[in-house]
């Protein structure tokens, strides 16, 4: 565990809530991506990211210093996201993130991609990727996101997902095969 994380955790355990800020700001973007990868909805991912940190704070006493702090945090994110997704699935069928159609994103496309036809193609591609991610199993999607977005090793992914590295390899392989079929024709 990087020294900074350990110091911050210790200080939080001594009752200094403000020291948790360093941990939140260090990991919030990465946790958000992992949560988004499972939930595939920006609004819910934002709310759930908060819940991950609140749960982490309440459980800091259970954190064993022999594990990496971020591995422990990702495990909380993974478990909370799966629970939330199951609850959501009981209510509505989430297809893909429609927030990609918000004005905010239109602006983003406009600034990054100047030509309207390129902008439309890019948007179509993003929607396709999100839909393809949504078609993977929760486990395959989490594995691919931890690997591709977080650059986590097989060993780290296996610890976060509580499975063997062989299972991680298999999940990654099938996830990539499915994504290849769905996305490559659009590239």
């Amino acid at each position: 565990m990087p020294k900074e994380d350990r110091d911050l955790v210790r200080s939080c355990l001594e009752g200094n809530i403000d020291d948790f800020q360093g941990l939140v700001e260090k990991y919030q973007q990465r946790i958000y991506l992992v949560v988004y990868g499972i939930i595939l909805n920006r609004e819910q991912a934002r709310d759930l990211t908060q819940e991950v940190f609140l749960k982490a704070y309440r459980s800091l006493g259970k954190f064993k210093g022999n594990a990496q702090f971020y591995t422990w945090l990702y495990r909380i994110a993974f478990n909370l996201s799966l629970d939330a997704k199951r609850k959501i699935a009981n209510r509505v069928q989430v297809e893909y993130d429609d927030s990609l159609e918000s004005d905010n994103h239109e602006n983003y496309y406009r600034t990054r991609i100047s030509r309207p036809d390129q902008m439309a193609l890019r948007k179509e591609l993003y929607e396709k990727i999100i839909k393809s991610l949504g078609a993977l199993s929760d486990e395959q999607r989490t594995a691919i996101i931890l690997r591709e977005w977080e650059g986590r090793s097989y060993d780290e992914i296996s610890k976060i997902m509580n499975c063997s590295t062989g299972t991680v390899m298999s999940r990654l392989h099938y996830a990539r095969e499915k994504l290849k079929k769905e996305i490559i024709p659009y590239l």
Binding site: V24, Q29, L33, L125, Y154, L187
Partner: protein, 158 residues
């Protein structure tokens, strides 16, 4: 065409791509790739997928730079203040009020009235009040004092 070696080692391709093979295993697999255009193409496809996923990740993070800390800290603060007050509240409800408590409160009220001038012959302003002390371990009290007009309000909560 993919040969039998490819099918038997499909997962190896991922491990090679992810840099999870030992240097020796990677060297061996590289020699296979040099002879197998199909596996080499799959590797290029993986790379394209990674590129697209990375682009999507950047897109998703745009506009997400705002710190979540203010919201998280205010919720933690609320939880802490609830936790601090909870045991007191519980104790207040658990403790049975002693029989003499009503009498004691009446006496306290009488004292307040007395010092406020109700029983004094000396002319004092109608809102004048002097309290020597308040002590009640089983009851909460709150004092509000407005320095501008000297107004003091005391709440005693049962």
């Amino acid at each position: 065409m993919k040969n039998e070696t490819c099918h038997n080692n499909e997962v190896l391709l991922d491990a090679y791509y992810d840099g999870e093979l030992s240097p020796e295993e990677a060297r061996e697999y590289k020699s296979h790739l040099d002879q197998c255009p199909e596996c080499a193409q799959t590797l290029r496809d993986y790379s394209s997928i990674s590129g697209s996923l990375a682009e999507l990740s950047r897109e998703l993070q745009s506009g997400e730079g705002i710190s979540l800390w203010p919201m998280i800290s205010s919720r933690l603060e609320r939880e802490h203040s609830v936790r601090r007050t909870k045991p007191v509240t519980r104790r207040m409800f658990l403790l049975r009020r002693p029989a003499w408590m009503g009498l004691a409160l009446s006496a306290a009220a009488a004292l307040i009235l007395f010092f406020s001038g109700a029983f004094q012959s000396e002319k004092l302003p109608s809102n004048f009040c002097q309290i020597e002390n308040i002590s009640s371990p089983e009851h909460n009290y709150m004092i509000y004092q407005d320095k501008s007009d000297g107004l003091t309000i005391i709440w005693i909560m049962e």
